[in-house]
């Protein structure tokens, strides 16, 4: 019966093509937009993802999201250290400052001041230089994409001298980090230098990064820290979710991408439903003949499901292929929040399931006529 299903489906090449292309287009829209959406939302939590040594983030109660820092006194670090269940705790400083190049150009950058001794939250991957270089006088790392915006048309290299917040600094390393939400170049340096760059007079800490002792759950330790210090504390996963939720709530990305993804769904359902409907109307007599001969409804349903499954898989492969090609070609050229965009395997699989599901549902709805057709019509001319 599978062979019959395929023959009926492939016989009408134009309809088959319309089905496959409709599904491919819907897949492209849904898959690509979901992947961009995922990359964008993930970029809002970049620093949390990169400081993976820490599994607890501590901050002032007023902080709602990663980029909205509210400095605390350095004393907070010691208070966190004294909470039972904390293995270690280090200061972390983050601010936006103005960078000036030797030839006088100016650029906003994110400066990240990491703890001098532990270097927690320093970049993991260096393209040029090594982590140890951060100990050198006036040392800064610039991320590769940021370097290209600060020094256009210049090959990646260390050695440049810049001024950030009127403080001199030497580029001693080029880091490779994922895209950030703001799209600003990211400068990693020691916290003491970062504070001077931000022209702070006191000795502030943006976050205290901590790690739960073995055998303690980060979320439990975070609760203990809150209770003991009155500060806000989260496991890094918890803070990531809080930041993502904040971004989804206030930035409008969910609406923007949601509309496109919904469009993909509507187009997919409309094309598939419409084509399958026409398909079943035109083949009604053939299906009626099968029913008269003695093919049960559930087997006809099976044949139609196989047809739907087949076109949805073929359409999905084409659509996801085009989407992947898009990422492969354009991803290296993108800047800002879209830089380093990729398609998470979960989105690949999720889109696949979703496409198969909507195809199945829309064609099963549109072939009701086939199931309800009175086989006696085969005798009518």
């Amino acid at each position: 019966m599978i062979r019959i299903a395929f023959r009926i489906l492939l016989h009408d090449a134009a309809k088959y093509l319309a089905l496959v292309l409709g599904i491919a287009f819907a897949t492209l829209l849904i898959g690509q937009q979901s992947a961009i959406f995922h990359s964008v939302v993930q970029s809002s939590t970049r620093e949390i993802l990169e400081a993976s040594e820490a599994d607890i983030w501590v901050m002032k109660p007023s902080v709602e999201t990663l980029d909205q820092t509210d400095p605390m006194a350095e004393l907070a670090v010691n208070r966190v250290r004294s909470v039972p269940g904390v293995a270690w705790a280090v200061p972390y400083y983050q601010a936006i400052a103005q960078l000036k190049t030797a030839d006088g150009r100016s650029k906003s950058v994110t400066i990240i001041g990491v703890d001098e001794t532990s270097l927690v939250a320093a970049p993991r991957t260096m393209l040029i230089g090594s982590l140890a270089d951060l100990a050198r006088p006036d040392a800064i790392f610039v991320d590769a994409a940021g370097f290209s915006t600060i020094f256009p048309d210049t090959p990646l290299a260390t050695g440049a001298t810049v001024e950030i917040g009127q403080r001199r600094a030497h580029v001693v390393g080029i880091s490779h980090v994922g895209p950030s939400w703001t799209g600003l170049p990211r400068i990693h340096t020691r916290r003491s230098i970062a504070i001077e760059m931000a022209r702070e007079t006191i000795n502030p800490v943006s976050y205290v990064l901590a790690r739960a002792a073995p055998g303690h759950a980060p979320a439990d330790v975070a609760r203990a820290i809150s209770a003991a210090t009155g500060l806000q504390a989260h496991s890094s996963d918890g803070f990531r979710i809080q930041t993502q939720n904040w971004v989804l709530k206030y930035s409008g990305v969910a609406e923007n991408f949601g509309i496109t993804i919904l469009m993909g769904v509507v187009i997919g359902v409309a094309i598939v439903g419409q084509t399958f409907y026409m398909f079943s109307i035109e083949n009604l007599r053939q299906f009626a003949a099968l029913k008269a001969i003695g093919v049960a409804n559930h087997r006809i349903l099976g044949m139609i499901s196989i047809q739907a499954l087949f076109v949805s898989v073929v359409g999905f492969c084409i659509g996801i292929g085009v989407a992947s090609l898009f990422f492969a070609i354009f991803s290296p050229q993108l800047t800002g929040g879209l830089r380093g965009m990729f398609m998470h395997p979960a989105i690949f699989i999720g889109t696949g399931f979703f496409i198969v599901l909507i195809t199945l549902i829309s064609c099963l709805i549109s072939v009701r006529r086939v199931l309800t057709v009175d086989p006696a019509i085969v005798f009518r001319s």
Binding site: R7, I8, I293
Partner: protein, 236 residues
Amino acid sequence: MSGVVCQQVAIEFPSAAGPIKVLKGVDFEARPGELTMLVGPSGCGKTTLISVIAGLLRGATGSVNVFGQQVTSLSNRQLVPFRLANIGFIFQQYNLLAGLSVIENAAVPLVAAGSPWPDALDAARDLLNTLGLTPHLTKLPRQLSGGQQQRVAIARALVHKPRLLLCDEPTAALDGKSGQAVMGLLRDLAVSPDRAAIVVTHDPRVYAYANRIAHMEDGLLVNVEEVLPAQLATTH
């Protein structure tokens, strides 16, 4: 063997002006080993009667017995395998599957009944050969003439060796010569000692292929005429 025995079969269809009685108590018989023709003016209920016999039309009263099975007492669910195992159909409009080749079309009832494709295709090939269609096995139905398509339909109707063959106006869409040829093949292939064949027709030119001709008028069987062997059309 009993073949098809209908007693006092009646059915009515609802209409705006109240129910219309289309069959008004038909007594009809089709014996195994014979070709029975069902003839009568348009609208007298011929198609309705064979639809009831096939179990395609429910709601009739009276008794419809097909080779010992009371069709009216079967559920819709039981009717599907019953038709698949016992009945072959030939329609005026052929109703072949457009995407399937000639040989695949002829194999459909066997495949539907669970035979593997190779076996089903072998059986179809033999039958199509007898029907003179060997040069056309891999063609699609639309590449054939009407008469050739109807011969494919004959193969499809007989491939699973049903005990009852139901044909509704098998020659109506064909010119006289093709119609005669199709009827000749039907007689040769369809009539066998353990099979009953019922052919609904309007076409007096093919009456000669019948063993028995049942005349219907306005929902009733009015006369059954036996065709003597001497009058039977000789084929080939």
